[in-house]
């Protein structure tokens, strides 16, 4: 019963929205370039999700604190500057402590800057709300993003290479579907995840079904 009450507080609602209702990947279909490009291995995916969550939380906090000082006309540019500053932190951190992952991720770390989810949350939520809520929202949306990524990476790594975290899991006679490790597999797996999510969503809220054509 206590659990149910939490769901009706403001912070609880923010969390549920970020994780399920307005999930950035499956509901809004934003920032999916990196979802697709780096999910062929689980370790890359974890590094990427951690990076995105870090940038998202710090950006939202800073934007929320500075929200009365940021001029309206220059706000997008200011958000971009804040985001790229934190992305540089992530990039340098990965280069220093995980050079291997940094090399495989290549340009995709830098591309966190143009991940529209971060800019979208800064613009639509953090610039209008108190720091605490901005923090919770960024965390929830970041986690919502991360768990979809991890699901996709699990499916792809297991079926494409037969491994999890590079640890062989499937018996050797199991056919390895190489195509899932490459670009087409990314598209297909995300499409299927989207399909499942939308079907579940439509069952819950029958009125609100498909989006733009």
């Amino acid at each position: 019963m206590k659990w149910k009450k939490i769901a009706y507080t403001r912070s609880g609602r923010i969390f549920i929205n970020g994780l399920w209702k307005d999930n950035p990947v499956t509901c809004m279909v934003l920032g999916i370039c990196s979802v697709l490009a780096i999910t062929n291995r689980l370790d890359n995916t974890l590094a990427m999700s951690a990076g995105v969550i870090f940038v998202m939380v710090t950006t939202s906090l800073l934007v929320s604190w500075l929200r009365s000082f940021i001029p309206v006309r220059l706000r997008i540019l200011t958000f971009m500057l804040i985001i790229s500053t934190f992305v540089i932190c992530v990039d340098l951190f990965l280069k220093a402590f995980f050079p291997e992952i940094s090399r495989t991720l290549g340009p995709y770390v830098g591309l966190i800057i143009t991940n529209c989810i971060i800019l979208g949350r800064a613009e639509s939520f953090a610039s209008k709300n108190k720091a605490l809520y901005a923090f919770l929202d960024a965390l929830a949306v970041g986690l919502g993003y991360a768990y979809i990524l991890i699901i996709i990476a699990l499916i792809r790594e297991l079926l494409a290479y037969g491994t999890i975290f590079n640890y062989p899991l499937l018996p050797s006679f199991f056919p390895k579907m190489d195509v899932l490790g490459m670009a087409p597999g990314a598209f297909f797996v995300l499409a299927i995840v989207l399909w499942i999510y939308r079907t579940l969503q439509a069952r819950k809220h029958p009125k609100k079904s498909s989006d733009q054509g």
Partner: protein, 197 residues
């Protein structure tokens, strides 16, 4: 050698290393704007233009200013500022001097600042250490390749919307992703024909 080398980079950027279908970049506009062939064409033109101009500015900036000053770690900030500036500049120029182009692709320009393909090109030319002429060819080819993918998807979706019965959960983004996946498989067929790095 140089001419065929450049031709290889150009064709490679279109077919074997297609931005949209091999590197999976620029997906947000690909999903949102692939409903009609005309919008797709406008967006494609805008992307090609901005891509070429930002590469034109970013290469000298990186190699003549940031690298000698040993400040390449701030390149992300510089690149994103240049991209935002270029987009703004192109907007003003088109609005004032080429009002006819405004309807063709001017209206898509503001969306391009957060299009990841543009930033990706600047990062690729740094990672792969391209020379200036290679950079120009590569960015042009990448833009053309991305536009090609967008146009093919838009054309398929236009046909699809007339005569197909897509499950409701798959409508919109889902079916676009599946089309893109099949197209990506087609483009996989080009790999091995040429190699750029």
């Amino acid at each position: 050698m140089p001419l065929s080398h450049h031709l290889l980079i150009f064709l490679g950027a279109i077919f074997t290393h297609n931005l949209a279908l091999t590197y999976i970049l620029g997906m947000c506009p690909l999903i949102a704007l692939s409903g009609h062939l005309k919008t797709a064409f406008g967006m494609g033109l805008a992307v090609i233009t901005v891509m070429l101009f930002t590469a034109l500015f970013n290469w000298p900036l990186y190699h003549l200013l940031l690298k000698p000053a040993d400040a390449s770690y701030i390149s992300y900030i510089v690149f994103i500022l240049i991209i935002a500036g270029t987009v703004q500049l192109l907007e003003i120029i088109i609005e004032n001097f080429f009002p006819r182009l405004q309807n063709a692709f001017g209206i898509y320009l503001p969306l391009i600042t957060v299009n990841c393909t543009i930033l990706a090109i600047s990062l690729f030319i740094v990672l792969r250490d391209y020379s200036f002429s290679e950079t120009l060819i590569f960015s042009l080819g990448s833009g053309v390749g991305w536009t090609l993918a967008l146009l093919i998807i838009a054309a398929i979706k236009e046909k699809l919307s007339l005569q197909s019965d897509v499950p409701s959960g798959l409508q919109g983004a889902g079916i676009t992703l599946i089309i893109a996946g099949i197209l990506a498989m087609v483009f996989l067929g080009f790999t091995g024909m040429m190699k750029i790095q």
